[in-house]
Symmetry: C2
Subunit: 254 residues, 2 copies
């Protein structure tokens, strides 16, 4: 085994104030940075460090490239947004290893946790994830839509707060509409809903509504959609945006 390694780093939702010291350090020490173009472009150019920016469609190729460089002795930071362990590059790297060679399985790989989009959204909104919740990706690029239906149905039956990732993209506008149609058949129309777009960035946009009135087309690829449990509620405030939270007490009376 060489001294090369892969460090899988999450850049968080955007601002540096959410980037952990561990992640900052790894980005400084790496000989190579590999990632989707917008993430790699966020990082400064550093002397002696090579940036490899690739298109989003080729996550497995990116993982393969990282493994090859690490096996040649490079210290490779594989970057993605948010937490790399949540709907991001860590699983792609392990998929490449799992379907790869003995040399891949012998490669030194570290994953560094980061702040995920649902956490930035939750903090911005109040405390909607204060109690049991689930996180579901609406992308059906890699899983059949019937698995997504099964999970949305179970999430409603379990009365979980639901954080939806990848609700829509330009080429895939339909999933969030289909998800809302299903959830409306299973949950109260009064259920609080928040569309939290690009939280912490300049183009942040928050829309607070409920399941009955929500317009699913509010969501784009930068939006985290938060759907309450039966307990999740708004706290109305005079002259200010309401807070959204889920009590720790089940059946809390106001």
């Amino acid at each position: 085994m060489t001294s090369g390694k892969i460090i899988i780093v999450g850049l968080g939702p955007g601002p540096d104030r959410w980037l952990t010291p561990e992640a900052s350090h790894a980005l400084e020490e790496a000989t190579d940075i590999i990632g989707y173009i917008p993430y790699v472009e966020r990082l400064p150019d550093r002397q002696g460090q090579v940036k490899h920016a690739t298109d989003n469609r080729v996550e497995i190729d990116r993982a393969r490239h990282a493994l090859d460089l690490a096996q040649q002795g490079h210290v490779v930071a594989v970057v993605s947004g948010g937490d790399p362990g949540v709907f991001a590059m860590a699983a792609a790297v392990f998929e490449a290893i799992d379907t790869g060679t003995d040399a891949d399985r012998a490669t030194n790989v570290q994953v560094l946790p980061g702040i995920s989009a649902m956490q930035a959204a939750a903090a911005r909104l109040g405390a909607p994830l204060g109690h049991d919740f689930c996180a579901i990706s609406l992308s059906d690029n890699l899983k059949p839509w019937d698995v997504i239906i099964r999970r949305l149905t179970a999430a409603a039956e379990g009365d979980f707060v639901i954080a939806l990732y990848n609700p829509a993209s330009k080429t895939r506008p339909q999933p969030i509409h289909d998800a809302f149609t299903l959830l409306r058949s299973l949950k109260s129309p009064a259920t609080p809903v928040a569309f939290a777009r690009a939280v912490g960035r300049a183009d942040e946009r928050i829309v607070l509504t409920n399941l009955g009135e929500a317009d699913p087309s509010t969501a784009d690829m930068s939006t985290l959609v938060m759907i309450g449990s039966s307990e999740t509620r708004f706290i109305e405030r005079e002259g200010q945006e309401p807070w959204l939270y889920t009590p720790r007490h089940y059946g809390l009376k106001r």
Copy 2:
């Protein structure tokens, strides 16, 4: 409204390398720190800053205390471990506000996201949260046990990866046993299971097993229990601990 405010800060799972710059800054600027004793004790003494360490059983009293100080003009950091928005102090503060006064609703409150235990555990293990997952607290202090049963059942029906928080404590050893009995009736005995205790701290301990063979009493109050979906798998490695991950592809063939 005074210039006082409450900043709800997560200290992460322990090590400073996971504490965001935003959280570090808030801890430096606060006039008052309020939290459960072990979290407050983790922080250095700072001139001009008052530390109020209280017992864990009185989260709502702690929230009330923070509101009173903020309304008197103090800048109060309410601290807890992990992400304060996930099974922690943020929901307790909003509960106090929701059942409180107009002055409480007018109080300036900010929540700062942090690294939660499931993320540190996932990063340490590989990428078990790489696909749809849910987080469930097994504490029945504040919710009826039948709600926990309903959620565990739904999580199994939805084939989610499951992160269990608060699996057991000295006074409450039974929940993790009951949860495993239920999950064994619903999921394959080959389902990967990890007990990830105190990840990132000196007393870290990892146990990798499966649902059929797991000993639930491995879990204590510092343990995050991770239970796989039908897709979650180990990658065996020669002479090293296997990695645990959930592929992004549903139905991935090796």
